[in-house]
Amino acid sequence: MTGMPGGLRAVLKWMPSAVGVLVLAGAALAQAFETQIYDPNTRQWVDYTPKAAARFYNRHGQSPKEFRRQVVQFRTAEKPGTIIIDGDRHFLYLVQPNFQAIRYGIGVGRDGFGWAGIVKVGRKQEWPTWTPPPEMIARDPESAKWAGGMPGGPDNPLGARAMYLYVGNKDSIYRIHGTNQPWTIGLNISSGCIRLNNEDVSDLYSRVEVGAKVIVLMQGAALYKGV
């Protein structure tokens, strides 16, 4: 698709990995995808695994170009300010005027429950506090020390900003947030919600208003319950 830093030209394609999901609004089954990148030096498709992603990030200091913030053509009937999330492709679109959108790379949940439907941004928070859910504490005793809430900061898994997704006036428990693991963009690895790198989530945060419509595509429903 496009050139990569360091002369590596990467092409992305999407390979499936079955993940069962719960779909909001009663319909589609959606599953998560794993990405592959094409390395022209070896002429091989390489799984964009967590290891490969970390290696790429270490080498280039950023994610592959496809996952970097960029303005794309996007003809839509949705109003500017609407967010459209395509979890399968690891993209979040913020609709702009003149049939354009800002496209951000995202990381989504590695498995668990996902959904598709229409929600809205109900609340925004800078440097949000993170509270591990009980299931995570049970799974990872290390997280128990934050049972009362981990203050916002660079080590906080929610990253620099969080946008809380509401169904009507009720918190859905899903969030769009930053990350302290920027190499996970483009992967189905996060232990929750939709993550952007901190620079991107700050950019998105500055552009999105409370009340913004958020559409989660039915084929792109690889979201993880909780954080």
Binding site: A27, A28, F74, R75, T76, A77, F91, A116, V119, I215
Partner: protein, 315 residues
């Protein structure tokens, strides 16, 4: 197409409901052209004929049923053949419903973007039953393609399930039911990324203005190959039903309570005279959905631009 209750609370526009009793209650289904038409009817009844109206947001089936019960007097957009059975029951057997004689020609198809045809070689709806073709529309990695067949509450969705079963692509494709906004955003994203997509489509609709959309080929409508058994009436509805040709020519009409002919003959006369064209419907849909303009404003502008036509209809 769109039949029944609104899909998701967040997507529903709100309408004012006056507290006092109205002379004419107008049902407002959950899609833009019907909403604008409902407002045009309400404004015209009030401004030209001095009739107090109330706009009542309901699903299409509910509105028609309420007309049958005398609680609602107007349905702005009744789709045929989707609601043929109920319309026949109310209009011909019970004689409580009238359809305006002026229908708007409509279409119901399976569509793809033109780029999809180039990428996949698909031409016909029947091609979707071929596993190797269906796999080209696989977006979730289960080996089957995905196709949006409509919103859960639309009557067309049940018929699209029958069509998928009859053509055989319910075995090769996952049939997705979702609110229209989610489906259309999926089309937008597919176009932006240059990826193939197939979906149920109806017209008049703004998607034909927004994207280069092509209707997949089908054998022409053949009534001998359409047998529809309703899910509500028979648990074996899918097996007993069959529909493997194109939809019959579709159209929609303004419908109103027969009682208006005696109670408010001026209103009945106006409602039976309303004659909208596909270009009116597309413009309404585009103004509301793409341009994001309030339904009320679009209706008022349409009235201002069509005073002569309304004058004819209210003579």
């Amino acid at each position: 197409m769109r039949i029944g209750a609104a899909a998701i609370g967040l997507t529903i526009a709100s309408f004012s409901c006056p507290a006092h009793a109205a002379d004419v209650v107008i049902g407002v289904p959950a899609w833009p052209s019907a909403q604008v038409t409902a407002h045009i009817i309400a404004d015209t009844l009030k401004d030209r004929l001095g009739i107090e109206t109330e706009l009542r947001e309901r699903g299409t089936l509910t509105i028609l049923s309420e007309v049958g019960r005398g609680n609602i007097q107007v349905h702005p957009e009744v789709w045929l053949p989707n609601l043929t059975d109920l319309v026949e029951k109310l209009a011909e057997q019970e004689k409580v419903l009238r359809l305006s004689p002026h229908g708007v020609a409509a279409t119901q198809n399976i569509c793809a973007t033109r780029e999809t045809l180039d990428q996949t070689g698909i031409k016909a709806v029947a091609d979707l039953a071929k596993p190797e073709m269906a796999a080209k529309f696989d977006s979730d990695g289960d080996g089957k393609g995905e196709i949006w067949i409509g919103a859960p509450t639309w009557s067309s969705t049940e018929i699209e399930k029958i069509r998928a079963h009859s053509y055989g692509y319910d075995r090769t494709m996952t049939l997705l039911e979702m609110p229209e906004d989610v489906a259309m955003a999926g089309v937008d994203a597919a176009v932006s990324l240059g990826r193939p997509i197939v979906f149920y489509c109806y017209g008049p609709h703004h998607v034909f203005q927004l994207h280069d959309v092509v209707m997949l080929e089908e054998p022409p409508y053949d009534p001998s190959r359409w047998t529809l058994v309703k899910r509500a009436e028979d648990s074996a509805w899918l097996e007993k039903s069959h529909a493997d040709t194109a939809w019959d020519a579709s159209e929609f009409h303004v419908a109103y309570a027969a009682s208006l002919e005696t109670e408010r003959p001026d209103a009945a006369s106006f409602l039976s005279a309303i004659e909208l064209g596909p270009e009116d419907i597309t413009a309404m849909s585009y103004a509301v959905v793409v341009e994001g303009r309030p339904v009320e404003d679009v209706a008022k502008d349409w009235i201002a631009q069509n005073e002569d036509r309304i004058g004819e209809w209210t003579k």
